[in-house]
């Protein structure tokens, strides 16, 4: 199998691009726990390192580890490494994650190309066992529902077989259609986190129980339907610090979701001229007052939610 970066340039996937900036916007608020610069970032940088570039520039993090499974691309990956502070580990995430030192507060983004499977859940389990309080993580998987040509019962059987005993309870074939698959995967990931933390907490005194608070539940499509789940792990004694991060509430972030209900990153198709025209009128509390210049009201509404994170692509000769 070719590495996915040979097929897709991550930088020009608008959904992913918006998601990346939103995640950074949330990570920024972790500063209540400790200065964000002091965190370590662990991700799958591929050869583009788009997330690493953003995290380094925006958050100032210098302790960075990228895990790259395709060792045969080592030369290219290392050539493309944008900053000297990125340590690239070659190997499978199942092997490389446990080999890292987990004594340091971390931000981990496991941005998989593939779908949810036991290997992904093993990584989720491992990081939830290992993260120190005040750490954050996100997991992205492909959540494409079964092709319509596949009989619903067969599709359910396939997913059940793949997830094995990690399959959430009471899933019917209809639950997999559309964004349903993403919902099922979120539950499987959530179950895994809950189980790990139950064991981790079993012998801990009340003030030191680990709490996982979900912040991210993104659905978006760059061709395929994608799901990102994640949040913050902290000790119950740090509830005050978590509250001060104001992920939720009046000062909260509009894309943060603490429950099963996802935040859909849906990107309107607008021309550059339209974008600039909207930008000049945003932010705005009354969208009805905006001059839409012929753009459907629904697209203006969608754009107004995403404009701060919206990618700008131009074709350029560098």
């Amino acid at each position: 199998m070719t590495a996915s970066f040979e097929r897709v340039n991550y930088a020009v996937r608008p959904g992913k691009s918006i998601e990346r900036k939103m995640l950074c916007g949330a990570f920024f608020r972790l500063s209540e726990f400790a200065s964000v610069e002091s965190y370590r970032y662990v991700g799958f940088g591929s050869a583009y390192f788009s997330d690493f570039i953003l995290v380094h520039r925006l958050l100032g993090i210098t302790n960075m580890v990228s895990i790259e499974r395709h060792e045969q691309n080592a030369k290219r990956v290392l050539f493309n490494r944008p900053f000297a502070c990125i340590d690239v580990k070659f190997g499978e995430s199942n092997d490389e994650l446990p080999a890292l030192d987990w004594g340091v507060r971390s931000i981990v983004w496991l941005d998989y190309d593939g779908t949810l499977d036991p290997s992904v859940l093993a990584d989720v389990r491992f990081i939830c066992m290992s993260l120190v309080p005040g750490s954050a993580f996100a997991v992205t998987v492909n959540a494409q529902p079964p092709a319509p040509a596949v009989a619903p019962n067969d599709a359910l059987a396939q997913v059940t077989k793949r997830l094995g005993d990690k399959m959430p309870e009471n899933i019917s074939p209809a639950d997999l259609s559309g964004w349903g698959t993403a919902g099922v995967y979120r539950r499987a990931i959530d179950n895994e986190i809950a189980e790990v933390l139950a064991d981790r907490n079993a012998a801990r005194p009340p003030q030191q129980k680990f709490i996982y608070k979900q912040l991210f539940n993104f659905n978006y499509r760059d061709g395929q339907r994608m799901l990102t789940v994640g949040g913050v792990i902290y000790e119950s004694g740090q509830q005050g610090l978590f509250d001060k991060c104001s992920f939720f509430g009046p000062q909260g972030l509009l894309f943060v979701r603490g429950e099963a209900d996802p935040y859909l990153i849906d990107v309107p198709m607008l021309t550059y001229r339209e974008l600039r025209h909207q930008d000049a009128q945003l932010p705005c509390s009354d969208l009805d007052g905006i001059d839409r210049a012929g753009v459907p009201r629904e697209d203006v509404e969608r754009y107004s939610r995403h404009y701060r994170y919206f990618p700008m692509f131009v074709e350029a000769e560098l």
Binding site: E71, Q72, F90, N94, D95, L97, P98, A99, D101, W102, G103, P118, S119, L121, A122, R125, F126, M129, S130, V196, A198, D199, R200, N201, A202, A203, R204, P205
Partner: protein
């Protein structure tokens, strides 16, 4: 006034004894009696060495005897607690003890035979309790009588205090087992393993005159290879975990779990200690024969420890064990990864890694504390081969036909040539 009518639910003694001994193997019953001696030693010495203390066992087809100089049982303790089934509330627990459930000694008597005698010489008193189990079963009382009792004696020197237990009229199966040399050898090894901590502290344990050996626990350590050590406190339980590699030893690879120094799980290779948990934590396989992990659970109050009543395993549902197990899993994953790597190194003939393992010396656990994560020399792996092997079967007749058509001699050439033919036409850019 007439007595209110009730439904009787108290156990018959026969049933009680049957249930009590049903699940305990003979060797474990004997180990329970050794545990009592070790507790006596702990009572006398606390955390200091056990030098000068001994436990002497005699195991023959006619009788079982265990004699120690580990302090004896004070009369008051015997009257109120030692012979009770289960630990009554208010019983003073011994700090760091291995006896916990208050069943071990009595269960061992019933398991072994029909007559037992307990003689104790404690600091200021001495007693003898003797009972015939069949007669005891017939009486409605739940008591054992003192045969001899002397109190308020002058203070006895420490080395003369001790307990002797003798069981005679052994059950037929027990007598038969005790006559087998192999059983006795196995028993000796089991005591050596279960009580290696006490043996290491200087307690002398002898079986039929043969003194048991201390088996030091070690892991390979060098400048290149660093075993992992973690110390964690969960409530009042202190957990010490050591993980790494040791000499190739298929019988003893896996996790060893101790509660207050007593081995309760030996060379475990099951899901309970993380094997087969999932990717990164595969099922045990011979290529992990060098894996060794030690988990020590220590608590003053032994009821906090995660062991089962027969001390043959851990209580997997205990909160302490669930939390500690996660640390164990985290610590073992890098060792497994290393052993996978070592396996590839053997195949690929990477001598530098093999000799790094060879050069690492076994180090006593006491000398291991440097790193929380297992470490090894990480040199770049040799690049994976550029070629990939394909093998398949096709009807012989067809293969021969292709051979002829292409003017080739070997089937291997047929495979290569047909592949190149297809690749040249369909895949070449």
């Amino acid at each position: 006034m007439s007595k209110p009518r009730v439904v009787h639910a108290e156990p018959t003694k026969d049933f009680f004894i049957y249930m009590l001994v049903k699940d305990i193997p003979l060797n474990r019953a004997v180990l329970d009696l050794v545990d009592n001696c070790v507790d006596g030693a702990t009572g006398l010495r606390g955390r200091r060495p056990f030098t000068g203390l001994h436990v002497r066992m005699e195991v023959t087809p006619q009788r079982f005897r265990i004699r120690d100089n580990c302090g004896g049982i004070p009369v008051e303790v015997a009257e109120k607690y030692a012979f009770r089934f289960g630990r009554p509330p208010g019983a003073k627990a011994l700090d760091g003890s291995v006896g916990q459930f208050g069943v071990g000694m009595k269960r061992a008597f019933f398991k072994l035979g029909k007559r037992f005698v307990v003689e104790s010489r404690a600091e200021r008193d001495e007693f003898t309790v003797a009972e015939d189990v069949d007669k005891w079963c017939e009486s409605p009382e739940w008591e054992f009588g003192f045969r001899k009792l002397k109190e308020n004696l002058p203070k006895r020197p420490q080395k003369e205090r001790g307990t002797t237990i003798e069981v005679t009229q052994l059950h037929e199966g027990v007598s038969e087992q005790f006559g087998l040399q192999n059983f006795r050898t196995r028993l000796r090894e089991e005591i050596e393993v279960a009580h290696e901590t006490s043996l290491g502290r200087g307690l002398e344990i002898a079986l039929n005159g043969h003194v048991l050996q201390d088996r030091p626990r070690s892991l390979k350590q060098s400048a290149d290879i660093t075993p992992a050590f973690r110390e964690r406190r969960f409530g009042d339980v202190m957990v010490k975990l050591y993980v790494g590699i040791s000499r190739f030893d298929p019988r003893n690879a896996g996790w060893n779990v101790y509660c207050n120094g007593r081995l309760v799980l030996e060379a475990d290779q099951s899901r309970g200690t993380g094997w087969g948990e999932g990717p990164g934590l595969p099922r045990f396989h011979p290529q992990y024969n060098m894996f060794k992990g030690y988990a020590f659970f220590e608590a003053d109050d032994s009821s906090s420890l995660p062991w089962n009543t027969t001390k043959t395993g851990v209580d997997a549902d205990s909160s302490i064990f669930r939390s500690a197990r996660q640390e164990m899993l985290i610590m073992m994953a890098p060792v497994i990864r290393f052993l996978n790597r070592l396996d590839r190194a053997r195949t690929a003939g990477e001598d530098w890694l093999l000799s790094a393992v060879e050069d690492a010396k076994e180090a006593d656990l006491k000398r291991i504390s440097d790193s929380e994560t297992f470490g090894w020399p990480d040199k770049p792996k040799p690049p994976p081969p550029d070629t990939q092997r394909i093998s398949y079967d096709r009807p012989r007749e067809q293969v021969n036909k292709v051979k002829k058509t292409l003017g080739l001699r070997s089937s291997r050439e047929v495979g290569e040539t047909t592949f190149d033919y297809f690749y040249g036409r369909e895949c070449k850019d």
